[in-house]
Symmetry: C2
Subunit: 308 residues, 2 copies
């Protein structure tokens, strides 16, 4: 029995996982529901304790957590720009106090990558990149069959490579980071720019609370502006992925998270610009796929896979 | 007894290495000396056979070769933009025919990285990046103590990440690749641009055959234009390295090759812009060092280290 937790910018989902890798109980809390990190921990722990019996907790081998800027070496969340709490957060320590068990932390995209490797599209693949297009953009790089954690445990921040020099302000304090363009929130910024610049009869112009799902729905209806927004987003993402390939030369890139749910609307332009921007030696060798795992499940199972 | 060979864009150097990792014979040929790849192989083989005795060749465990776009999986050089021969070159096969021994190939920067790990600045370091600033820009990424070869054996092409979107034309057919700015030839292109744009009393304006060494010598004399050229080059390199750190989170980056011999003239601006462009979580954690190994020796020893 293990618990896997996926902490995203918006929701935190957990699952109790039995020895057959089945999720036998699950729940979620709002990540942004609490102003103080300590209260968030209590809220998360209570959500678990309500649905998991004392017997199950006694049988727990450990808790694996995927979190933005989660550091496998320290068990901390370190300077995550998309979370409500700043600085260094002692996540593993606090959760261990709640459950008296072994707690391991890694970044949310690494957890998703492990889920994909164990149960999804990357089974049997030793070199791939998992890219999460959620509130932010995260990534897990697997090379030689292993996650690249890096010297300090904080590798895989593809969302913070500079996609556009001196581009959009990012939550990290710099400008032009990939995630300001290709996250679920980044595509909304693109939509706002496109809609404010051009007179358009797009139904998106009348939306009050624009989000990536609404842009997807408009694209499905054939809205030209929505399709242009996806094309622009795919171009930035395709270019950045082509550069990443020049570093780790993967067999596959898997897109995951809210924006990836737009399917071919994001995949088609991303693949097109990706191939156009690849160094010749990599052309037509690297596939870009949408994750086939249910959105939260992959990260929960992957986080649980941290516990052996 | 092993032979290590370093094939660069300009020279190809080889060394005969005894069991104490000492180079006991060495030589070199011009990489660009032969129009046909077959003739180049003969010239390289003859250079070795002239200085290595039959007894030594009989005792040979194998030949390790570092070459631009060298593929460890296939033993081939594949589409190397900075070599005189195009397409796919069966390097391992041709050398094995000459010496009747085991031949392994990897890219030149990977070979240098192995040399650095065994004998240089990266001893005991499991996460580092080796960057070669020669005729082109190459790289070897070591993560979890292992070279990242990637799915197809062609990982580590940092020279072909796009440093400037729609920037300078590159030998690879694309535009703005890092190596068009930060290789030993790239800095000459920068110098030519700077000198043609601005009226200057720089002694470089009178040079007929400009090269990176002459720019270094001018900078040493305090020439303002030369210092600006290094500042510009360090900026592009520092920005690119900051992005690479977001992927593999190394402890150290080692600069190697012709341009790295400029020491602090390239290191100081590179470090400055690198820190300015790093994501906060990596700041003041990653050192950028000049390789301490003699320029050819590292790559020769590293190439030989492919043979166990």
């Amino acid at each position: 029995m293990k618990i896997g937790i996926d902490i995203g910018g918006t929701n935190s989902s957990w699952g109790l996982i039995n020895d057959k890798a089945e999720i036998i109980a699950q729940g979620k809390v709002l990540t942004k529901g609490e102003q103080h990190f300590e209260d968030y921990i209590l809220s998360l722990a209570n959500s678990i304790k309500k649905k998991v019996s004392k017997e199950q907790l006694t049988a727990l081998k450990g808790i694996g957590i995927g979190a933005p800027n989660g550091n496998v070496h320290t068990g901390q969340i370190e300077f995550a720009p998309n979370l409500p709490w700043k600085g260094v957060l002692p996540l593993a320590t606090k959760m261990a106090q709640q459950f008296d068990t072994n707690v391991l932390v890694t970044n949310d995209a690494n957890a998703a990558a492990m889920g994909e490797k164990e149960f999804g599209a990357a089974q049997g693949i030793d070199n791939f990149i998992m890219v999460t297009l959620g509130t932010g953009v995260g990534s897990g790089f697997v090379s030689n069959g292993q996650l690249i954690y890096g010297h300090d445990g904080l590798a895989g921040e593809l969302g913070h490579v500079i996609a556009v020099r001196d581009g959009r302000p990012c939550g990290c304090g710099r400008k032009g980071c990939l995630e300001t363009y290709t996250s679920a929130t980044g595509i909304v910024r693109t939509a706002e720019e496109f809609l404010s610049k051009n007179k358009t009869d797009s139904p998106l112009a009348n939306e009050v609370n624009l989000n990536s799902h609404k842009i997807f729905l408009a694209a499905k209806e054939g809205d030209k502006t929505a399709l242009e927004i996806f094309d622009f987003t795919g171009k930035i993402l395709g270019q950045a992925l082509a550069d990443a390939v020049a570093i780790t030369s993967p067999k596959m890139i898997i897109l995951f998270g809210g924006l990836a749910l737009s399917g071919n609307y994001i995949l088609t332009p991303t693949r097109k610009y990706f191939e156009e921007n690849l160094l010749k030696i990599y052309q037509n060798k690297v596939s870009i796929e949408q994750s086939k795992l249910p959105n939260n499940t992959a990260a929960i199972l992957g986080a649980a896979a941290l516990i052996n």
